[in-house]
Amino acid sequence: MTLAHPQLDDTGRLKHFLDLDGLSRETLTHILDTAEGFAPLGERKVRTVPLLRGRTVANLFFENSTRTRTAFELAAKRLSADVLTIDLVSSSTAKGESLLDTLRVLESLQCDMFIVRHSESGAARFIARHVADGIAVVNGGDGQHAHPTQGLLDMFTIRRHKGDFSNLTVVLIGDIRHSRVARSDLAALQTLGAGEVRVVGPRTLVPKDVEALGARFVANLDEALVGADVVMGLRLQRERMNGAKVPSSGEYFRHFGLSAERLALAKPDAIVMHPGPTNRGVEIAADVADGKQSVILEQVTAGLAVRMAVMSMVLGSQTGASA
């Protein structure tokens, strides 16, 4: 009746990587530590390690993405894996083939790992449940549910700047409701024991029971920013800006945009984060996005080390070798 643990094997190792919700603090910390080990590679002349030589990683992108796809591709190449990226957005599933049929075809290509990006919540979990034995699934973002490597790279960046999580006040601004990044960040912050997590945004973009995600709702941005150590903007999708969930991008920026004046309410050493791509002048003022407190580009770089850590650990667990 009960389903097996979706991402851990019998010995507690990662067999898939689908969601941060449900992983222990030890596991998250172990991944972050492993990522720290990979981070210096980027500074070297030779940036590859042979950990996944001979293994095949397939990027299955059922939804458009440039950043995440590129980061996964590069991370896999740095681990010496063979990488192929399959654009499925305009492909067979769009022509009516069922997701399971597509999956069977891709399994026949004899890959070791699928990186899955899909527009439906729960898609990575669904694929992990139905995939052939011996293929690991890594969630590259599923609908509005989770984007666990993004959540981890955010934690990696925060930890580098702030160290311990327990005294931190973290503020997430904007579209919590539709954001898989927010869900993964909130799950990780809760597991890692962040001191206080506040979410702020119009009620159309913040679910009424957001406390279930371990965050406190604050209606007013100025109030939310006071004493913050970490300020995280979230992307507002264009289709939600024009009268649907928000009357206009202008009104949104006036009330929930991160400007330099507002940022001054946070601690002087607060860092500013954003998963990108940013809508300048909507979620965040250009001078803040480019300002000295911004770590937005560091987040992108951290994404490489974190994804190398995840891929090597998941495939390492499959062969029985230690990661």
């Binding site: 009746m1 389903l3 069922s98 399971l100 439906e120 919540s121 979990r125 989770a146 679910p207």
Partner: protein, 374 residues
């Protein structure tokens, strides 16, 4: 050898028998046979077939195929609007004369309040019962789970409780104007139960039912995107479930239906938000019904009334002369429905470990002078 229970044949107020339509999901043959396994000797067939039951030709086809299926009797429900489009009324009086026991809009809401008003008034003039689900045409229409903590946690589009209560308030206010008999199909929220109770106190002629699964499951069962719990009428909170049980205990909810919705594997195997909602209920209806006293604290007489006298009264049918014999401790090996989309498909246990049992072993149809050992 265990004792057998002898009971009157049950009457189901809402089941999808899938014919006409793609037979991989079931047909009248397979689903009326599965209805027997549930204890139903009469089943109201939902009109959301393909094509919908909006014409004499379709209703006659259903009647003809049901007769040759030779299992549970099929009571067709007329589609309230053509193609269930919510725009144009069907020939309700003609379909009633043909043998339809009620008119229903199935799971499709009617956006146009004026049309709904006319539909209710027209049905009232022929004393034709309406079986209507309370569902707003916009609010939560793209949702796939109750808008609550599970929706928030999993990032799934939600169906607010207000989607049901707003639609129910509209139905009740129109009923006040039009008169007639309204049966509200498959309640899911605590507030809706309270509204039915208040409407009845105010003298309105309204009855209600609940799908049996909603007395057992909540949003928490969806857990890790378990699409076997994807239901068109969403599973809501444990407080809602308790209010539904209390509604049955108090008689505010008159009847318990199967809300049977068999699906083929392809429709049931997909990521949660795109899976077609519905649970194949017939093959575990009897054990769930038998567990109502012990698991849901609903006394036996009330539970029996909710599947016999109450639905018969709503449909203005004479009491069933059929009898069924049930072995309450047996479990059946056969899964009769073509749809295997059920969390109970390979098990006789609820998620909390509670064991289920109960098997219909014999059906006696006085009307047809037939005895069938199962």
């Amino acid at each position: 050898m265990s004792d057998l229970l002898t009971l009157p044949g049950f009457t189901d107020l809402y089941a999808r028998l899938r014919e006409p339509g793609p037979s991989r999901r079931g047909n009248l043959q397979s689903e009326t046979r599965a209805a027997y396994a549930a204890g139903f000797t009469r089943v109201c067939a939902a009109p959301d077939t393909d094509p919908a039951m909006d014409s004499t030709a379709t209703v006659e086809l259903v009647q003809h195929h049901a007769a040759t299926a030779d299992a549970a009797s099929v009571l067709p429900m007329a589609a309230l609007t053509i193609g269930l489009d919510g725009d144009r009324l069907t020939e309700l009086a003609t379909l009633q004369a043909l043998g339809c026991v009620a008119a229903s809009q199935a799971d499709q809401p009617i956006a146009d309040t004026r049309l709904l008003y006319d539909a209710m008034a027209y049905a009232a003039s022929f004393d034709f019962p309406l079986i209507m689900r309370a569902r707003d045409s916009r609010l939560g229409i793209n949702g796939c789970v109750h808008e609550g903590t599970m929706a928030t946690r999993l990032g799934l589009p939600g169906v607010p409780a207000a989607s049901e209560t707003i639609a129910l308030a509209r139905l009740l206010e129109l009923l006040r104007e039009t008169g007639g008999q309204l049966h509200v199909s498959r309640l899911s929220t605590a507030r809706a139960v309270q509204m039915i109770s208040e409407a009845r106190d105010a003298g309105l002629s309204v009855t209600a039912d609940v799908g049996i699964a909603h007395l057992y499951f909540t949003e928490d069962d969806i857990g890790g995107f378990d699409s076997r719990y994807a239901s068109s009428v969403p599973f809501r909170t444990s407080a809602d479930r308790e209010a539904l049980r209390e509604g049955v205990r108090q008689g505010v909810i008159d009847a318990i239906c199967s809300d049977h919705a068999p699906l083929d594997n392809d429709a049931a195997l997909a990521p949660f938000p795109v899976v077609e909602p519905g649970l194949s209920m017939f093959d575990r209806f009897m054990p769930l019904w038998l567990a109502l006293p012990s698991y849901c604290d609903i006394d036996f007489d009330r539970a029996l009334n909710a599947v016999t006298r109450a639905p018969e009264a709503i449909l203005k049918l004479a009491p069933s002369t059929d009898t069924i014999q049930v072995d309450a401790t047996a479990t059946a090996d056969t899964w009769w429905s073509r749809g295997r989309n059920s969390p109970l498909v390979d098990t006789w246990q609820l998620a909390d470990g509670t064991a289920l049992s109960g098997k219909v072993v014999c059906i006696e149809r006085q009307s047809d002078d037939v005895t069938l050992a199962l």
